[in-house]
Amino acid sequence: MSRPTASTAFLALLRRDFLLAYRRRAELLQPLVFLLVVTSLFPLGVGPSPQLLASIAAGVIWIAALLATVLSLDSLFRSDYEDGTLEQMVLSGQPLAMIALARIVAHWMVAGLPIVLLSPLLALWMNLPQEGTVVLIKSLAIGTPVLSLLGAIGGALTVSLKRGGQLLSLLVFPLYVPILILATSAVSSAISGLPYSGQLGLMLAGMIAALTLAPFATAAALKLSLS
């Protein structure tokens, strides 16, 4: 039998990643607990006034989501790099961009999607008005894949460094700025009853651009890290 097709290899990698995620579930819960803790610290820090919390809610939740994502990014390629699996995957002749995309999809499913699912609860804690909550969920649903896609480039660039975590956050936070601005502006527009489809549309365009380009950039970065 010859080499498996790229789609077979893609599915095999996804299946392995979900199995690994299940075995390491305690590790995966950490960023989510971090997200909950950071968000719940704000009412204690800035005061429990409902109006104040409502006005900062979208920004707080989004920044906490960025921090939680960056926490989970460092491990995206690290264990495969350290045990030699990455090397074997590169040599297997399967397209490296496909390997990168499979890792990114798995990362979003276990790190990004839970943030989207938790966001209604966070919005309730922060007293975000109803119309804002719906847009917040939409913005996270569009935005968290972008965080995984752009973050993967940083993760691949820093994988060969012993302590790449700090450098990784310095690399990816600037890239996250446009998403943060668009998302929070969409939510505040929705609260004031203004149209917000422009911001969400721009975020969607950003997601499609990242989806098509980031796997290739990640592949190039992985190649660089291995040599």
């Binding site: 498996p4 030699g84 699996t85 040599l91």
Partner: protein, 206 residues
């Protein structure tokens, strides 16, 4: 199958090893020897295509199989799951059910008693056996083995020699590194002795 001319690699403006040339036909085995740190692993990584040569040329037909020092075993997956993933990802020889082929390979490499144990519980020798399992399902004709005998017990060495013999007899070829003490027994082989390219090693030798 593989031909290399005047190949060398520079790291930090220093040659890792002095230029080497060799060519390898069907059914031949090349043994790369040399002291620790003289660039055996670097040479193998160059041949695998993980590094780009600084000088010289490598001509090979297809992707080789590279078995390096890192075993590529996931600590959180069982032996069976590890082998199944590698088979699904890299391809296998037979078209029958993958589970049967996986089980057969686990039996051959002698890991049947620990097949359901997680990777983290394996000993160094068992890890080596698990990573060598890929020699049994891969379809690549050229093997690049980096210190394949390290950590293996006598039985494991015999097993590896048998796999190597079968591979060479069916039209394969192999490049193997060793630092000297353990060598393949009873094979006709070419030998390539690597000489470190670092200046300080020259002075130490003189």
């Amino acid at each position: 199958m593989l031909s290399v001319s005047e190949l060398s690699f520079e790291r930090y403006f220093e040659r890792v090893f002095e230029p080497v040339s060799f060519s390898l036909g069907v059914g031949s085995l090349l043994l790369v020897t040399g002291a620790n740190g003289c660039g055996k692993t670097t040479l193998l990584r160059l041949l695998a295509g993980l590094l780009e040569p600084s000088e010289g040329e490598i001509r090979r037909q297809r992707h080789p199989l590279y078995a390096g020092h890192d075993p590529a075993i996931k600590d959180d997956l069982s032996v069976t799951e590890n082998i199944r993933f590698m088979m699904d990802f890299m391809g296998r020889r037979h078209s029958g059910p993958a589970a049967d082929e996986g089980q057969r390979i686990i039996n051959i490499v002698g890991l049947a008693p620990v097949a359901q144990q997680q990777g983290r519980t394996l000993s160094a020798g068992q890890r080596k056996r698990c990573s060598l399992a890929r020699l049994l399902f891969c379809t690549e004709a050229l093997w690049l083995l980096d210190e394949p005998y390290s950590n293996l017990d006598h039985e494991g060495i015999v097993m590896l020699d048998k796999m190597l013999r079968a591979h060479l007899d069916t039209g394969g070829a192999c490049v193997m590194t060793t630092h000297g003490s353990l060598r393949p027994e009873g094979f006709e082989l070419q030998e390539c002795r690597l000489i470190s390219g670092r200046h300080q090693d020259y002075w130490n030798a003189a």
